[in-house]
């Protein structure tokens, strides 16, 4: 069975939502925190609900609904989301009140919306969709876990199409804590030249990217989704190389067959060392592209990478801002996305032209 990406929609720190140009004029930030550009939510959510919803819920619901609009699908066969931190704004807000009000006279709204499944649940509620509904919350492979679930559902013939997305929000509290945990650089940088800084730390990001996966052929499908695989704590770089080669082998492909590799380079010296080593070995002869200078680093950022790959294949165009050196095969047909999260969780996703 073949699986296709029927449609996609992304709320991100770039102009990616709606009918925007394909990263022709990338948005430049000076700092270490990229905030998502908010679309006009009133097109997707009624004003009363908008007021109650936190940032991540609004991003998630709007991007999910736009993704369905693009596909011309009203109710998907399943809704699956991935998020490492869940609804942080509401979680921090309720936790703050518990502490500051000393557990008394607390309003329930923030607690109600704090559960990790809120985005998937709100989408189901707005669509009146009674189908399968799941939320994965496993660090840097939350989105990939959701994708695997979607692939299995289609294989099992449980659904004709599956809405699957990665969401994450960065709040003031989480940005402060993650900065103290050395995830981000200690001084402001220009996001578009982050790969030249050669220093510790990345830049924080956020967003909501949804896809409709289907096993039905259609002229307007963006790309064929060949597969996703994750692995945990590889012993050394050789094991990473082996995993990449054996992943491709499952689809009768060699690394030479890959026209473009999109990597999760994020501007942090230690993090990018893995990519640099691979660029000297398995990836030495393939064209490379990066995306985290555009969306920032966050646990489900690989969903932005997949959005990029699907659009590159459909439009037959690689935006200049993502190219690492040069693109040898243009337009690319086979695109591999390789991402790792603190060298603990690694993920591979493969797309090919329909």
């Amino acid at each position: 069975m073949k699986i296709y990406i029927r449609s996609t929609a992304a709320v991100s720190p770039q102009n990616t939502f709606g009918n925007a140009d394909f990263l022709i004029e990338p948005v430049e930030y000076y700092g270490t925190r990229l905030a998502a550009i908010e679309p006009d939510y009133s097109k997707y959510i009624d004003p009363k609900s908008i007021r109650r919803m936190s940032h991540v819920i609004k991003m998630g619901v709007a991007s999910a609904k736009e993704c369905l609009n693009q596909a011309g699908v009203e109710i998907p066969g399943a809704i699956i989301t991935g998020t490492a931190f869940g609804c942080l704004e509401d979680t921090v807000s309720f936790l703050t009140r518990v502490i500051e009000m000393d557990e008394e006279l607390l309003p329930p709204t923030a607690f109600i919306q704090s559960t990790h499944n809120t985005v998937a649940a709100q989408i189901a509620l707005l669509l009146k969709c009674h189908q399968y509904n799941n939320t994965f919350v496993h660090k840097g492979i939350s989105f990939e876990s959701a994708l695997l679930d979607a692939v299995m559902l289609l294989n099992e013939n449980e659904a004709d199409n599956v809405l699957v997305g990665g969401t994450e929000e960065l709040t003031d509290a989480s940005f402060a804590i993650l900065t103290r945990l050395s995830l981000y650089k200690r001084w402001p940088v220009d996001n578009l030249s982050i790969f030249n800084t050669r220093s510790k730390g990345s830049i924080g990001g956020e967003g909501a990217v949804f896809f409709l996966l289907t096993d039905k052929e259609n002229e307007t499908n963006l790309a064929e989704f060949k597969g996703v695989q994750t692995f945990y704590k590889p012993e050394n770089i050789e094991e990473v190389e082996k995993k990449i080669i054996s992943f491709l082998k499952q689809y009768d492909l060699k690394i030479e067959d890959i026209d473009l590799v999109i990597t999760g380079k994020n501007g942090d010296l230690k993090n990018d060392d893995i990519y640099d080593q691979l660029n000297q070995s398995v990836f030495s002869n393939v064209s490379l592209a990066n995306f985290k200078h555009l969306c920032g680093e966050y646990p489900t950022a690989s969903s932005f990478g997949l959005w990029l790959a699907a659009n590159i294949i459909k439009k037959g165009d690689v935006p200049a801002i993502v190219i690492e050196d040069e693109v040898k095969t243009d337009p690319p047909k086979n695109v591999l996305i390789y991402n790792h999260y603190f060298n603990t969780y690694h993920s591979l996703m493969l797309l090919t032209a329909c």
Partner: protein, 610 residues
């Protein structure tokens, strides 16, 4: 009379697509109806000169029958008079009637006239295949699965027919749909039982394909909760009808001595000592390690290191107990607060720490769908095995009590200030609990190599959404109903097959009323034994599906039925009561376990005797 027959093949033609046995074989989006039908004829390389003379309705039915029978039907097995044809639709031959009527104004067309009867479709199929058994064409407003099931199974049981093609063939202008079913007395590798539910499922293109997926067995169980630190202690507590609910002793909160909870007895220091983990990690992780290790040891899988093993866990608030400590100084000054306390805030951190203790690294992930989290982790784990990705999966969930959740539920005013009374007319709310529960799921191949008989198999599962409200359940329990119904369909069981339901039964007025209504709708007149073990363990949130899966597996293996403590008065809206006495040694073949949560997330699992 017992129903007979199996659906050995199906073909659906609708929306420009041809499906056989749930798989789409051909799609042609651009064409109008006549062109689409002709393109099917060409695509499947059919050769039958009468085809081009037929009207559109006959073409549609004939094409569906050809694809239905192709490669699946052993015609030689039957005598011509043993095979019949029972078809139906809503508008008879209206499409051709209209065309004929139009032709009358000029020259009445004899070739159209002969097709102005719907039963000509059945005739065309019978001529092609030399079928001579009973045939009939019925008119219904909508596809009537119940009628077909009764009518055709009567023909089979009374030996009037040995095989029958039945279904729906409708075509008016651009609207069309064919759904044909081949019903035979003998099972085949791919057949499913001949029930109205299956007919409807196929008609709506929702095929239960996983009926053909391999079985998954439960080889080990492990649990820690307020009623015991392991499986044996929990069973003893059930036997003695001893609940684990009491005053708060571990947590620093203003609700001490006001709101009862179901705590695990051990302090953090004791848990750290038992697990060998540092005392400053999340209590949720330590509870999880204890239960998951017990499950894996219980399974005692030979040569585990040679198998592909995964860990799928669930929780609702990750390391929140530690984040609470971090946030106190952090709120005063965001440069303060011990980072160690917030480092493992994410739900995934808890899973990762437990997996490392179990030395599982082939695959791991975490699910968080509020109170249905660990029911979902269990069946996601089973699907990883069914899809051939893993051989063994430890699956379940863990959650420790935190101030965050205690206060959260308190703001919703759904906590009982006394001990909870699930499914009682005078119930006041729930008691929060804590704990962890895991099962070890194994493939058929691994099950065969075990040194002991597995507990049971996971035969059914379903995840449906209530889509009604972020926290409240719909009055008619739509999500609960769909989850239970879906799990029965997946397991290929009837409601009357279930011997015991481990209810979600939180004790809140809203949940028990919605769940009770859904149970009534599905099980009316054939109520199985039911109870909520939350009357013992409290509501352990992200752990509850895991803990209750362990209790369900034990119920199948040892024939146990757990009492629903403190039950006095039957709820007004239902006509059943939960079990109130502990029973053992019962014949229990199938147990259903319900887990419903915030966000409308409803999941049901079915555990079956091997």
């Amino acid at each position: 009379m017992t129903k007979e027959g199996h659906i050995t093949s199906s073909c659906v033609i609708s929306s420009n697509t041809v499906y056989k046995n749930g798989k789409h074989l051909f799609i042609n989006t651009g064409a109008d109806v006549p062109d689409f039908l002709n393109s099917i004829y060409k695509y499947f390389d059919l050769s039958y000169s009468r085809f081009y003379k037929m009207d559109s309705l006959s073409k549609l039915g004939w094409l569906a029958s050809e694809i239905l029978l192709k490669d699946t039907f052993e015609k030689d097995k039957y005598k011509p008079e043993d095979v019949g044809l029972i078809l139906s639709n809503a508008n008879a031959s209206l499409d051709t009637d209209m065309k004929y009527l139009n032709s009358v104004s000029e020259i009445p067309s004899p070739s159209l006239f002969v097709y102005t009867l719907p039963n000509i479709v059945t005739g065309e199929i019978c001529i092609r295949n030399n079928f001579k058994g009973e045939d009939a064409f019925f008119i219904f407003e909508n596809f009537n699965a119940r009628f077909l099931e009764n009518y055709v199974s009567n023909l089979l049981t009374s030996d009037i027919l040995q095989a029958c093609i039945c279904g729906w063939v409708e075509l008016v202008d651009e609207d069309y749909k064919a759904a044909l079913f081949l019903i035979e007395k003998d099972k085949s590798d791919e057949s499913i039982s001949f029930t109205k539910e299956h007919l409807n499922m196929i008609f709506d293109n929702k095929k239960a394909a996983s009926a053909n997926l391999p079985e998954v067995y439960i080889a080990g169980v492990g649990v820690i909760s307020a009623i015991g630190n392991n499986v044996a202690e929990c069973i003893t507590a059930f036997e003695h009808e001893k609940a684990g609910i009491g005053d708060i002793t571990h947590m620093q909160t203003i609700h001490r001595n006001k709101l009862p909870v179901a705590e695990v007895g051990f302090t953090n220091e004791e848990l750290a000592q038992i697990t060998g983990l540092p005392v400053d990690i999340s209590r949720t992780t330590m509870l999880g390690v204890i239960a998951a290790k017990e499950a894996l040891q219980d399974a005692a899988i030979p040569d585990l290191s040679s198998l592909r093993t995964g860990f799928v866990s669930a929780n609702t608030v990750g390391g929140m107990d530690k984040s609470e400590a971090f946030f106190i100084p952090f709120l005063a000054d965001n440069k303060r607060g011990k980072l160690r306390n917030v480092f493992d805030h994410e739900c995934g951190s808890v899973t990762e720490a437990i997996a490392d203790e179990l030395k599982i690294k082939d695959y791991m992930t975490t699910i968080s769908t509020a109170c249905s989290s660990s029911a979902n982790s269990i069946f996601y784990g089973a699907r990883l095995i069914k899809n051939g990705l893993l051989d063994v999966v430890v699956a379940g969930g863990a959650d420790a009590l935190t101030k965050f959740t205690l206060n959260g539920f308190n703001t919703l005013m759904i906590l009982d200030k006394g001990f909870c009374k699930p499914f009682d007319e005078n119930r006041q709310g729930l008691n929060l609990g804590e704990g962890a529960g895991y099962v070890v799921l194994v493939s058929e191949k691994v099950a065969k190599n075990l040194n002991k008989q597995p507990y049971c198999k996971l035969s059914g599962y379903n995840n449906s959404n209530d889509a009604y409200h972020q926290t409240a359940s719909s009055p008619d329990g739509t999500g609960s109903y769909l989850a239970m119904k879906g799990a029965l369909e997946k397991a290929n069981l009837q409601p009357s097959d279930i011997d015991y339901i481990n209810l979600h039964g939180t004790g809140t007025p809203n949940n028990d009323s919605a769940e009770g209504t859904a149970v009534k709708r599905l099980f009316d007149s054939v109520y199985p034994a039911m109870s909520s073990t939350k009357s013992f363990t409290g509501h352990t949130l992200g752990a509850s599906g895991g803990i209750e899966a362990v209790f369900s597996a034990l119920a199948v293996k040892y024939g146990l039925i757990y009492p629903n403590l403190r039950f006095e008065t039957q709820m007004k809206e239902v006509s059943f009561s939960p079990e109130t006495k502990f029973q053992k040694g019962k014949q229990i073949n199938h147990v259903m376990s319900n887990s419903f949560g915030f966000g409308g997330n409803c999941s049901s699992l079915i555990f079956s005797k091997i």
